[in-house]
């Protein structure tokens, strides 16, 4: 089947699903998930195929170019995996609507088109398609989302339009927008235009990936989006930013085109600045995530932090940085989607997103808990899950280039992630069960299935990261980079090697020893959660003994006085409004005399000027 056909199918499905959903929500949602799974499988099966098609003239002499290269395949599969899993997840949500399906189909179309694109124009077109449809999707459910999504609108507009500018600048300067051809021509381009293009693309990549300083939209948009859409937003759509970033740093190797700039720690100045932005966004994301009380806001900031890792890794470049960054794309997609899904499942059952209003749900929703647990272990980068591999590789690159300050950011995010991932674990699943949640049931099967698949994949690539890295090696090989040495279970990097299977085995051996000792001891008496040590008092109200609100209050206090970076957009909007008021009094007065005067004045000035 032709590639453009795939995108066409996905596009045509949108209105069909919309009208189908008018008749039956259930059938339409099931059909939607079938289509998404089909698209995912189709893309997945194209592994190893390299072909391109160009069709559909969008503008004079410009066609849409799609193609399969290892890069497209990798990003396309990841994104479609998340979208298809979320599609299954949606089957049993409460708030269904035809409009959501229409927009979701468009989001999916845009995401496929963007990741399978072979040139910058196609990328930006489809990216924008997925962006605007996701924008409207965000506001469909929650009242609060209105104020938040508008930030996403402006940040993404800033990003998209800087990219659009860059695309046409490239088109004008080089006569082509194809990735590979542009990469060729960039080598001989004038220095100023190299920097211009790179900066503009960088703005887009950072804006969409949700990295500092354009991270401000993530908190609101991710947290107030419809619960079933947040996994796509965080797991899939931010990864297109990583895709662009990868093209910037690896396909157009930024390290070689900027070799005339001074380099710091073996990476060029441009990449160094980018790496710093990544580093700052790790720190900012981590600090803010720790301070959040709303579980979705918390995960949103963890996305900021992890996007920072991706930016940092890609900007560092080199073998380990690039591969670590690509691996982190996969890991974070899986983990954040699983985190958002498990939280969506909890919200589906309990109806709240505030951590302090939940608690003790582990007994009611054990599978959801397991999915969340595996996801957070992966996010925190703890060995038996896949998140460790990517972080390990990123550290290798940091050590190789000897960059202690950036390493600080990376470590900060890693250690800090223990803090923030643990907070929802405590708040939602552990601790005292609220009386109003006594009758909560486990999430329905269609929610459990996608979560379990993502969880199993996380575990699989945690035990055998070499499997995932062998794909990534192909990508790196395709772009002409150096591959990482692998054996079945070992990854060999600069500062030594680690054996993922061995580590897992060791863990299980330890676990078995523990289990034996556990069994040898006397059987424990099961008691209620309320039956705890209280210094002799009796407990009656469970909700008062749930410690999660302001859990990291001491930490909070340290950062209270920090300047908030989230308000620059709001103040910008006030500035624009003030300017508007000024312009209005100047040029749009209430009485006609004003217009006449301005017109006459302009006429005279223009004549005097042009004469």
């Amino acid at each position: 089947m032709d590639l453009s056909m795939i995108i066409l199918i996905s596009l045509i499905a949108a209105p069909i699903l919309y009208f189908l959903a008018k008749f039956s929500h259930k059938i339409a949602y099931i059909l939607f998930s079938f289509i998404q799974v089909f698209l995912f499988v189709f893309i997945l099966l194209q592994k190893g195929i390299i072909n391109t098609v160009s069709s559909f003239e969008i503008m004079d002499g410009l066609k849409l170019n799609f193609g399969f290269t290892p890069i497209n395949w990798y990003f396309g599969s990841i994104i479609m995996l998340i979208i298809s899993m979320s599609a299954i997840f949606m089957i049993s949500i409460k708030k269904k609507s035809p409009a959501k399906l229409l927009l979701l189909s468009l989001v999916s179309t845009g995401a496929i088109g963007a990741t399978l694109s072979m040139d910058f124009l196609t990328l930006v077109i489809f990216w924008e398609l997925s962006t605007w449809s996701s924008l409207i999707l965000i506001v469909l459910d929650k009242e609060k989302s209105f104020r938040e999504a508008i930030k996403y609108v402006s940040v993404s507009a800033i990003g998209t339009y800087s990219m659009l500018y860059a695309v046409f600048y490239i088109l004008k300067s080089f006569g082509t927008v194809n990735y590979l051809e542009v990469a060729d021509k960039m080598k001989v381009a004038p220095e100023s235009s190299k920097i211009l293009i790179f900066v503009l693309f960088g703005i887009m990549a950072l804006a969409k990936a949700g990295s500092f300083p354009l991270h401000i939209w993530l908190r609101g948009s991710h947290s107030t989006a419809p619960d079933e859409f947040s996994p796509i937003l965080s797991g899939a759509l931010t990864k297109i930013g990583a895709y662009l970033l990868f093209i910037m740093v690896a396909v157009i190797p930024s390290s070689s085109i900027f070799s005339w700039l001074p380099s710091i720690g073996g990476i060029t100045l441009v990449n160094y600045v980018l790496a710093w932005l990544g580093g700052i966004s790790i720190v900012v994301g981590t600090v803010m995530a720790i301070r959040m009380e709303d579980v979705k806001e918390l995960i949103a900031f963890s996305t900021v932090s992890n996007s920072g890792y991706i930016v940092l890794a890609m900007a560092l470049g080199g073998t380990y940085g690039t591969i670590g960054g690509l691996m982190h794309v996969l890991n974070h997609a899986l983990a954040s989607a699983a985190m958002f899904m498990s939280m969506a499942a909890v919200i589906h059952r309990t109806g709240t997103t505030k951590m302090r209003e939940m608690g003790g749900l582990i007994t009611k929703m054990p599978i959801t808990f397991a999915a969340y647990l595996v996801a957070i272990i992966s996010v925190a980068g703890i060995p038996p899950m896949s998140g460790f591999a990517s972080k390990w590789l990123i550290y290798q690159q940091l050590v190789k280039n000897g960059l202690p300050f950036l390493a600080f950011a990376a470590f900060f995010g890693s250690v800090g992630s223990f803090m923030y991932v643990f907070k929802p674990l405590t708040g939602v699943f552990l601790g005292q069960l609220k009386p109003e949640h006594k009758n909560v049931k486990e999430a329905p099967f269609t929610m459990i299935l996608p979560m379990s698949i993502l969880t199993l994949l996380t575990i699989f690539w945690g035990i055998l990261p070499s499997n995932a890295i062998s794909f990534i090696n192909k990508i790196v090989h395709y772009t002409g980079g150096k591959e990482i040495q692998l054996t079945f279970s070992r990854i060999i990097a600069l500062t030594g090697q680690w054996d993922s299977v061995l580590v897992t085995m060791a863990f299980f051996v330890g676990f078995i020893i523990a289990f034996i000792i556990f069994l040898m001891g006397k059987k424990a008496r099961q008691v209620d959660l309320m039956d705890t040590y209280t210094g002799g008092e009796f407990l009656y109200t469970a909700e008062l003994y749930h410690f999660v609100y302001k859990m990291y209050r001491p930490f909070d206090r340290m950062f209270e006085k920090w300047p908030s970076m989230e308000n620059w957009l709001t103040s910008l909007s006030y500035k624009i409004k003030e300017l508007g008021a000024l312009l209005k009094t100047l040029f749009y007065p209430k009485y006609p005399q004003g217009y006449v005067a301005v017109s006459m004045l302009t006429l005279l000035v223009a004549f005097w000027w042009l004469r």
Binding site: F56, E57, I58, M59, D60, A99, L106, G110, I125, F126, E128, L129, W132, L135, I136, V139, L140, D141, K142, E143, F146, A149, I150, V153, S154, A157, I158, Y161, S162, L164, Y165, F168, Y169, L171, K172, S573, I576, K577, L579, G580, A581, L583, K584, F587, Y588, P589, Y591, P592, G594, Y595, V596, V598, S599, T602, L603, A606, F607, W609, L610, R611
Partner: protein
């Protein structure tokens, strides 16, 4: 098909309509339907044809010129006019049958503006269209619309006087009123005289095309006119007025300095329009400023005057026509449903009746230029064309576009926002609005997703500008 019918038919019906009482409403429908069909016939053709009126051979007599640009614009104007009528058919106006006459008059005048090849004839049509526009502007329910119309009238009258002065200067120095003839002769003029004439005409046409700073009338008029009036004013009029602008300022005067001025003023218009639209609290006022900004971009492209710029400008014009048709008709209906079009009042209206959201959303998305919609394609041309001229212009245009995206989405979000205050009662979308709106949505989506080859007529507009041939234009 002789394009004279496009003018004669509505004009005749308008004349009859004065005496026909209730039937004038029917006449309006007949005239606009007939015009749409005729323009469809005219659309099938290419090249330049000149139609002589009254047997006087140009340059002495008046002629009507049909070229590739006119064909597209004629079809668009008549189609959008018809759609606008359908879309606002549910609205009940005071003195409806008398208003119909004004609408027919405007239809005739607009077709005349698009067709005529004579400078003074253009003045006459401009005046007719302006008078009908004043009446439309005054058609709103609120008293403020009368005052706005009066302000429009004062500025419009000055403008037409200036335009007339410009025409007379051209006539005095070249001895002709025929556009093609004049265009051939102005090249030998004293540059200062040409500049003076051109400037006077820029002021004259600038008022109608909403070029900054001659557009002071627009916000109040657009915001306060009746639904039908504002829809037609915002969607149909710009096409005709900018077509006149192209013919007079760039084809006849064609002075390099003037083009620079237009570029500067156009960009300023765009910036000011977007900034002001950003800070508006009323939906129709926001749309009005957005129209101003769109006009600024289009005029800036005309100032650039390359082939791509013309393609971009004509695409933007059509896009603006269909988009504003949707936006203004929906906004008027929403104002009716919600009692007012203030930001707080319209909150959640789209949630009650999703069709509002669909129509408004599609209109807004195409105006801001999102993929899948016509606006995106035109935006590509705009950036491409401006990029060839200077690196700064597209940057400014894109910054204003970012502002535009933000406020349009704010309004879309406001419509779909879940609001506790809302009663569950649905406010039905009138059938006419739904029909015309969906048709317009189909058009903008179709233009957005068909392959480039199917939009050949835009390329022909581009070719036309390359030749910019004086003889072609006049068809003497």
């Amino acid at each position: 098909m002789n394009p004279t019918w496009l003018i004669a038919l509505p004009l005749g019906f308008a004349f009859l309509g004065i005496f026909a009482g209730k039937f004038s409403k029917a006449f309006l429908w007949i005239a606009s339907l007939a015009n749409a069909i005729i323009s469809l016939f005219i659309f099938n053709g290419n090249g330049v044809t000149s139609y002589i009126i009254g047997g006087w051979i140009p340059p002495y007599g008046i002629n009507l010129v049909v070229n590739d640009m006119t064909r597209v614009f004629l079809l668009a104007v008549n189609l959008i006019f018809l759609l606008a009528l359908v879309a606002t058919s549910a609205e009940i106006l005071k003195k409806d049958e008398k208003m119909s006459v004004a609408f027919m008059l405007s239809l005739a005048a607009i077709n005349g503006i698009l067709l005529t090849g004579d400078l003074f004839n253009l003045f006459v049509f401009l005046e007719i269209s302006a008078i009908s526009a004043y009446i439309m502007a005054a058609s709103g329910k609120e008293a403020i619309s009368k005052f706005a119309a009066l302000k429009y009238l004062i500025l419009g009258s000055i403008a037409s006087s200036f335009y007339l002065l410009g025409v007379i200067v051209v006539y005095a120095s070249t001895g002709t009123l025929n556009m093609a003839d004049a265009a051939a002769k102005v090249t030998s003029l004293n540059p200062n005289v040409l500049l003076a004439a051109g400037l006077l005409m820029v002021v004259g046409l600038g008022v109608e095309t909403k070029l900054f700073p001659f557009n002071g009338w627009a916000p109040d008029v657009y915001a306060n006119a009746s639904g039908r009036g504002s829809t037609i004013l915002a969607s149909v009029f710009p096409i005709a007025m900018i077509s006149a602008f192209i013919r007079v300022i760039t084809f006849v005067i064609n002075s390099g300095k003037l083009n620079e001025l237009i570029i500067v003023l156009g960009i300023t218009t765009a910036i000011i329009g977007e900034v002001l639209a950003f800070s508006q609290k009323r939906m129709k006022k926001m749309l009005a400023y957005s129209s101003i900004a769109q006009a600024g971009v289009i005029l800036m492209l005309i100032g650039i005057g390359s082939s791509k710029a013309y393609i971009g400008a004509s695409m933007l014009l059509l896009n603006n026509g269909f988009g504003k048709l949707l936006l203004f008709s929906v906004a008027s209906q929403i104002a009716l449903v919600a009692g007012s079009d203030h930001f707080e009042n319209v909150t959640g209206v789209g949630r009650k009746s999703p069709l509002f959201t669909l129509l408004f959303g599609a209109g807004a998305l195409t105006i801001v230029g999102m993929p899948l919609f016509f606006g995106f394609r035109s935006k590509l041309y705009v950036i491409s064309a401006t990029m060839d001229k200077s690196l700064w212009i597209p940057a400014v245009i894109l910054i204003t576009a970012a502002i535009e995206v933000t406020y349009y989405f704010r309004w879309i979000f406001n419509l779909v926002k879940a609001d506790a205050k809302l009663s569950e009662k649905r406010s039905p979308v009138p059938f006419g609005l739904a029909l015309a709106g969906l048709l317009a949505v189909l058009v903008v989506i179709a233009f957005g997703i068909v392959p480039e080859a199917n939009l050949d007529f835009f390329n022909r507009i581009g070719d036309l500008s390359i030749q910019l041939s004086k003889t072609l234009m006049g068809g003497m």
